[in-house]
């Protein structure tokens, strides 16, 4: 029989012993103490049984084949999918203009970042184009104020292009959180209520070619110019979208932004 007072063992030490966290020099003491305290030894043994039960129940999960939706390659291709949760399961169908365009052209060295950026813009587009009463924070009839405000908050020159030639009138704009700080968001509306939005935010991509992305019923053209990313989003009419985007691009060029 060992003398308890010499080697009295704490509750923490018993756990550490079972979990292999006890300093080696203390193990013999604990073992001796357990030999002298069958009730405690039984308790310690029950923890080991518990671990066996856990492994018996759950180790099989780790042996299952990994479901498709958890494959890294798929997840990398679909940034932001998590935001919809599993229930909504709205998959982002990314149709890059040329499938290999992202990598091959080397224009966007970090494709996933820029892709995520475009998805942000499309999300904003989908969220606000359905708004009837409050689609924007500042209405289009205050164009000068809108531009000055967004320019001040964003840190680059935000201007609202004139898209009358494409049959679109400025509804207004709002400030949004972007990937690297604020983002500007402008909304336009056509004669039959169709809406287009222009999202701009800082991007590390520098300059890229114009690319096309589609998500459900909406599509977007996006590019980066002098560190600012542009995403022009609209409905499914790609030709019209292209026309609008060209007009935005040309005016941005002309305005020297």
């Amino acid at each position: 029989m060992t003398d308890d007072r010499k080697i009295s063992v704490t509750e923490d030490e018993l756990h550490a012993y079972v979990d292999g966290e006890l300093p080696a020099e203390r193990r013999a003491d604990v073992e001796a103490w357990l030999a002298a305290h069958p009730d405690e030894a039984e308790r310690v043994q029950s923890w080991r049984t518990m671990a066996e039960l856990l492994h018996a129940r759950y180790d099989a999960v780790a042996q299952e084949p990994v479901p498709k939706r958890l494959e890294i390659e798929r997840l990398v291709r679909r940034p932001r999918q998590w935001i919809y949760g599993a229930a909504a399961a709205v998959l982002v169908a990314f149709v890059a203009g040329s499938a290999t365009g992202w990598v091959a052209h080397g224009a966007a060295s970090k494709p996933s970042v820029f892709q995520a950026f475009t998805v942000d813009a499309l999300d904003a587009h989908r969220l606000y184009v359905v708004e009837v009463r409050h689609p924007v924070e500042v209405p289009g009839n205050e164009r000068a104020h809108l531009q000055a405000w967004l320019t001040k908050r964003c840190g680059w020159t935000v201007f609202a292009p004139d898209l009358e030639a494409s049959g679109l009138k400025l509804v207004g704009g709002r400030l949004l959180p972007g990937p690297n700080g604020p983002a500007s968001f402008l909304m336009y509306e056509g004669a039959s209520g169709e809406r287009f939005t222009i999202y701009t935010a800082k991007t590390e991509s520098g300059e890229t070619q114009m690319r096309y992305a589609a998500m459900d019923k909406d599509s977007a053209l996006f590019w980066a110019d002098r560190g600012v990313g542009y995403v022009v989003s609209g409905g499914g009419d790609r030709d019209r979208l292209t026309k609008v985007a060209r007009s935005v691009y040309d005016q941005a060029e002309k305005n020297g932004i």
Partner: protein, 176 residues
């Protein structure tokens, strides 16, 4: 180690070392999530969210232990998920004592039920230590608490599970 795991250091089969180390963790993450959340779909949702966050942050990951980092993300996501569910009723599986169930299945159900009765932090500590084999130090970092807190949570969780297992199925006590 940090350097070896940093992104873009090496490239095998087009996948960065970072992504490879994330991929290698998927089976263990699924096991942990299943035990933590109990529902298989919810568990895989958690793993998916964890992976997406990790991959999005690839460039922010400047080396260190990918494994601990992934467990941390998953643990936090589950905490948030539970917070958002807090006001909804909790569904517990009906306890059917199927006499045909094999001993292993019945034991599996018992440990599942016992886990379900633990509070979140205790369940997480118990699983990280006993199922995933993490050290107290790692679990303390994952939960953002001192080691002493980890140990007291672990002790309480073990006592609770022990009582729960003995209460539901005394015959299963293998303990002498």
């Amino acid at each position: 180690m940090g350097k070896a795991l940093a992104p873009d250091q090496s490239n095998r089969g087009g996948m960065s070392a970072f992504r490879q180390s994330v991929e290698a963790m998927i089976p263990a993450l699924r096991r942990y999530a299943r035990a933590l959340a109990r529902d298989a779909d919810v568990a895989d949702d958690l793993v998916q969210d964890t992976l997406v966050r990790a991959l999005r942050s690839e460039r922010l990951f400047l080396g260190g232990d990918v494994r601990s980092w992934l467990y941390t993300i998953l643990t936090n996501l589950n905490k948030n998920r539970r917070r958002s569910l807090a006001r909804r009723p909790q569904f517990m599986p009906l306890s059917e004592n199927n006499p045909d169930a094999s001993g292993t299945e019945a034991e599996g159900r018992d440990i599942e039920k016992a886990l379900a009765t633990l509070v979140e932090e205790q369940r997480s500590v118990l699983l990280l230590v006993m199922l995933e084999g993490l050290s107290y130090r790692e679990v303390a970092d994952i939960q953002g608490v001192p080691i002493g807190t980890v140990m007291s949570r672990l002790a309480r969780a073990r006592a609770h599970i022990k009582a729960s297992l003995e209460g539901t199925r005394p015959a299963l006590r293998r303990v002498k």
